[in-house]
């Protein structure tokens, strides 16, 4: 009996070790993949049409979900925040609460998560399907490098779209906060915007948000194209890859957000 337990434990440890080394080697492969994409990127910019098409499919088609989500998040923030601030007589700070929360954190992070699930999974599925139906092989045999023609434009399309989507999320969120705070609850309009303007600095608050969204853009786009390119060329393989894109992108966004926040806002206060 005890030898069974030992065997079971050994098996679990072996699987764990295998998963960890497998994960690390995939990380290394993904890093090399990123270098390869950047190396093959000149064509994506010389023939900007290709990248523009991808900006359309990842950015423009995500607009609806981003704008609506931003609006609702801003409205809820305003509603919830007001209750708490009122208790300390600080309800005029509502504008600051909504603006800083969105611009520093919620804008980039939520836009990143939404982008990963909508556009990231679509990119993975598309590339995975192209791999399954041998379209990528066909391109290779026609002496067209799929990295330059298919992968790089999708990568840069995502990287360019992300900061714009994050800014739109924050902007619409603040507008939603204004709608609830000023129009619905009745906070003074001047106080709302004035306090906000005094407390939100372009540097570092807004620029930090932009940097975050750029980093998220790179991470999500890289994961999306990598998982698609690496997917097993079967129906289950593509489906698994799509799921992995969403899960790993989300985790990456949250982890990177933590790391960046520590660096950005630790040094912000005297």
């Amino acid at each position: 009996m005890s030898s069974d337990v030992l065997n079971g434990t050994a098996r679990i440890l072996r699987r764990l070790g295998g998963a960890v080394t497998g994960g690390i080697s995939r990380l290394g492969f993904a890093a090399r993949f990123l270098v390869a994409i950047v190396w093959h990127s000149p064509q994506a910019f010389r023939r900007f049409r290709l990248t523009m098409r991808e900006i359309y499919f990842s950015g423009v088609l995500s607009l609806v979900i981003i704008l609506l989500s931003g609006l609702f998040v801003g409205m809820v923030l305003s509603l919830q925040g007001y209750e708490t601030l009122k208790r300390y007589g600080a309800d005029e700070q509502l504008g600051i609460l909504v603006a800083l929360s969105l611009v520093r954190e919620l804008g980039p992070v939520m836009a990143g998560l939404l982008f990963a699930s909508r556009a990231g999974s679509a990119i993975t599925a598309e590339i995975g399907l192209m791999k399954t139906t041998e379209q990528l092989s066909a391109m290779e045999m026609m002496a067209v490098d799929p990295l330059a023609r298919v992968i790089a434009p999708r990568f840069w399309g995502g990287v360019i779209s992300m900061p714009l989507l994050a800014a739109l999320f924050s902007a619409f969120g603040i507008f939603g906060g204004y709608l609830v705070g000023v129009r619905l609850i009745g906070i003074d309009n001047g106080a709302f915007w004035g306090q906000m303007q005094a407390a939100v600095d372009f540097w570092p608050d807004i620029t930090d948000g932009i940097i975050k969204s750029l980093v998220f853009g790179v991470a999500v786009s890289l994961i999306a194209v990598f998982e698609g390119y690496d997917a097993k060329p079967t129906a289950e393989g593509v489906s698994a890859a799509t799921t992995r894109t969403v899960v790993i992108s989300s985790l990456a966004i949250l982890a990177l957000d933590f790391v960046m926040t520590v660096f950005m806002f630790r040094a912000g206060n005297v």
Partner: protein
């Protein structure tokens, strides 16, 4: 990784006529290849004379598609030589491999058309990528290729709107878009209705003769192959077990060829997957 070529160095119209008689030949010499530890091909030796159609036949999973990938340079053999037009494919620099592939066309199983582009754009793709031809000329060339396969009226359809046979023909038109010196067909007859089978077979023969190309057809359709090819190779479990002209194959007494051509269930390729004796299996104790 492939390098991006200098597209302006090509001239589509003059390149096609310059065919060194020995240039389009393919030679495989004692080639071996294995996936991880599993040997896929062993000791393959075959010759494809220029301008001829050669069929590589065999059951599923015997390594036929691997041979095509070796010829196309997608994979490298573990031993042996792969020569296309006198050049050793595995040793080519990326630029040279690139240049070689521009002179080859490949028809993938089920077509592998680019689903986000129309039929017209699919065929125009290699022209747009590799030449600087003006749009009007490309348009004419695309329509000519479509006319050759009988689908000129379908130029604006999307691949999703095509039937299997039509998709195959469009892919064929795309494979010959740049008038290649070598065309490779991966299971061109798979899953087609009898009429489409006949059409595709006829097109392979006619285009081969009209363009003066060399063709390699990987298939397991015996009937169509015997009608159109010049020579056949039979592959089983990674080795060449038989070869000959269509007439020789029809007359052959070789057991493998006979099983393949006549479609016998059992023969040199066994019916039963390897297992222990039937009696032992039935009477084994259930744990």
């Amino acid at each position: 990784m492939l390098a991006v070529p200098n597209a302006s160095s090509s001239n589509l119209l003059t390149e096609t006529c310059h065919l060194d008689p020995a240039a389009a030949a393919i030679e495989l010499d004692d080639v071996s290849f294995a996936y991880d530890r599993r040997p896929v091909l062993q000791g393959i030796t075959m010759k494809v004379p220029p301008g001829k159609i050669v069929a590589i036949m065999g059951g599923s999973g015997c390594g036929k598609t691997t041979i095509l990938r070796l010829i196309g340079g997608q994979i490298k053999p573990h031993s042996g030589k792969v020569l296309v037009a006198g050049q050793s494919v595995p040793d080519l620099e990326p630029e040279a491999l690139y240049a070689l592939r521009r002179k080859c066309g490949m028809l993938f199983q089920f077509g592998a058309l680019f689903t986000d582009m129309s039929v017209f754009e699919n065929i125009a793709f290699p022209m747009r990528e590799h030449t600087q031809l003006p749009q009007e000329l490309i348009r004419d060339l695309v329509l000519m290729k479509l006319h050759a396969v009988g689908l000129r009226g379908a130029a604006d359809l999307m691949p999703a709107e095509l039937s299997g046979g039509m998709a195959r023909r469009v892919a064929l038109a795309r494979a010959i878009a740049l008038d290649p010196m070598l065309v490779m067909y991966d299971e061109p007859f798979a899953g087609l209705d009898p009429i489409s089978l006949g059409v595709v077979g006829q097109l392979i023969r006619r285009l081969n003769d009209a363009l003066g190309t060399t063709s390699v057809v990987v298939t397991h359709d015996v009937y169509e192959s015997l009608k159109i090819v010049d020579y056949l190779y039979f592959v089983s479990e990674g080795r060449i077990v038989a070869q000959g002209t269509p007439d020789a194959v029809r007359e052959s007494k070789d057991a493998f060829v006979r099983q393949f051509v006549d479609g016998e269930a059992d023969g040199p390729v066994p019916f039963h997957y390897p297992a222990q004796s039937y009696r032992k299996d039935l009477f084994a104790d259930v744990q």
